[in-house]
């Protein structure tokens, strides 16, 4: 799973969000390292919808502009959990092999 996809799914794990909210949340989750832009975000959202990992939760009109909220589907939750477990296992393996002092410093 690509990092942008993983972060978008993570942003939606706590509850439904609209496009701009996802951009802000992804930036926070990644500590400001990943700054999604609209082109990348909507290409990813459209693909995730097609794959059944997210769905439209509701739509609102705010200041005459469409605001669409997205949520994780059960399939999306499972994929995110699997990916998080895989990344966690990899990170743990790396930590076990690092020198004890260095691993503690990174934790």
């Amino acid at each position: 799973m690509q990092e942008a996809t993983y972060l978008i799914l993570t942003a939606l794990a706590a509850g439904s969000q609209h496009g701009y909210g996802i951009i802000v949340d992804v930036s926070e989750i990644s500590g400001g390292r990943v700054r999604l832009r609209a082109g990348t975000l909507y290409a990813a959202l459209d693909r995730l919808r097609e794959d059944g990992l997210i769905a439209v939760d509701r739509e609102e009109i705010v200041d005459n502009r469409l605001r669409r909220y997205y949520r994780l589907t059960p399939e999306g939750e499972k994929r995110l959990a699997d990916e998080a477990a895989r990344l966690h296992a990899n990170a743990m393996a790396a930590m076990r092999r690092l020198k004890p002092g260095l691993a503690t410093g990174m934790a």
Binding site: A38, Y42, R68
Partner: protein, 224 residues
Amino acid sequence: MSEQASLERRYRRLLAWYPRSFRRKNEEEILAVLLACAQEGQQRPGLAASADMIKGALQVWLRPAPGQPHSVRIAIRLVCAGAVAQLATMIMIVATAGRVRSAIARGYPGLAAAQHDVKTMLVVHYAGAALGVVLCLVATYALMRGRDWARIVVAADFGWITLNMLYTTLQGGAVYAPADMVAGTVEWLLFLPACVLLFTATSGRFYQPEPRGVTAWQGTFGTM
């Protein structure tokens, strides 16, 4: 015209790069996000935002159709590589044209007709290679979108490459145009497995899905 209206118009121009079906679903929403991300008084889309929009458009255009089997994915990569090989062949023909001409002139001194034939042959090869590149790119896109006719195009292209290789070999191409022969062989070796993969039973199901809820007689005579 206000600053925001001017910015919106320019963003809409960028959104025109996306497929129509995607725009119908997402245009207003993307526009809202783009305008929310814009800075106070901004009138033009930034370079990074514009590049990201075009990248996003390419991602949407080139996205594989849902349910694409592994065999089709590999075949598409091979056809893509075939397009690159055809481009390389075209460059090779252009680059080695002079050498081919002099090799033939040495082999057949004073044969003006042979020189004329070679010139004609080279023009046919340039056109054929250029057409091949375009066909490969069109076929790649259509194969990704699950269009059945694209398989026929790839098979026809493979047939053309095979005939061309046979003809060039019979004409002694290995002697007077070895570089072109190598490029042609690479193309042939890419298209052969691509064709085999595109016509497997799994790929066939992707390109000709079973009609849902249509009975045999409806399939034969159509629906009222």
